[in-house]
Subunit: 135 residues, 3 copies
């Protein structure tokens, strides 16, 4: 079942907190997978990063969101020895996966929607997995 | 592959922030799609709205959630020229899609669960897409 | 279509707010379902609980997250008569479902990822549903 195997996409990040547009990478992976009708799953295998779909027209939206995510972390005691519990928290909020309908080999997104990798403990070498279920 | 195409449901909203119960609309779309076993995907193509599954017995729950979402927006500088960055933030938190198991042509929800469209920048003419993957 | 029916897993909780690792239970359910390639859906049928994928190496991460979730609830008026609106809010944030790629009959998780049931109004007898879509 070669067609259905997940594809791995490298996502290098270069800021501590960064929303990085990966829409084109995901679209390219779908073309390579070769399933034209179904459901695309984007999976983030990291515990200090997340995924989001939001506006990619005005770049101010992404930087506004970066500030808002950073500020939303509650001021509580964090015991985790690595000191990056805020990133684990934001990972839970922005989550580990996205699902997008695929028709005619194209991601079906709203007019203003783009797909973002959400880095919360960068910069790092990250990756996401892409799979398409036919249907 | 006509059966698998997404269906579009109109969701008019009439408040700035509004959780609107769309459970019946989704169930109706599934009946029309005609796949009785599988996975239902509800996709929100907007960047200032979201989706949620929560209690639809006591209407106070939805209005409590509307107040809580409004208040959870961090007090940071927002540069986006349209001035609706809080709605973009809440859209990221409540997200762009839901998935619900379908058996015997029925949404498999918990006893108290209903499906809500989450408007954060209304009132507007919104829509959601519904797809069912057989399996 | 016996193979595709959802499986029910009991998740007893013993704290008011508790992140409980259910990774092994989900893996066991997948083995029983017997679909080796596809997409696993974990569905939470409760309106005062959620699901998360995050680190399960250092147990401090889960307890840090429990404190952060509790603290993130906005201080607004809540009218819902049962008095557990904070739990409904946290359920919306942590959500009702997860999706994980399955290959060779194994959940495809990142190295540090585990699957957590998020109790926000415990202790209670909870359950989650597991389904696998082949593909």
């Amino acid at each position: 079942m070669i067609l259905a195997m997940k594809k791995r996409i490298a996502v290098p990040t270069n800021q501590k907190i960064q929303l990085k547009d990966i829409t084109r990478d995901i679209q390219k992976a779908i073309a390579e997978i070769g399933i034209s009708e179904g459901l695309c799953i984007v999976f983030n295998p990291h515990t200090t990063a997340g995924l989001a779909i939001n506006e990619n027209a005005d770049p101010d939206v992404a930087t506004d969101l970066e500030r808002a995510f950073q500020e939303m972390v509650p001021q509580v005691r964090f015991d985790h020895i690595e000191g990056n519990s805020p990133a684990h928290f934001l990972s839970c909020v922005t989550r580990h996966s996205l699902q997008i309908i695929v028709e005619d080999g194209r991601l079906q997104l709203g007019r203003w929607q783009g797909i973002y990798f959400c880095e919360f403990d960068g910069p790092r070498s990250r990756n996401v997995w892409v799979k398409v279920i036919a249907g």
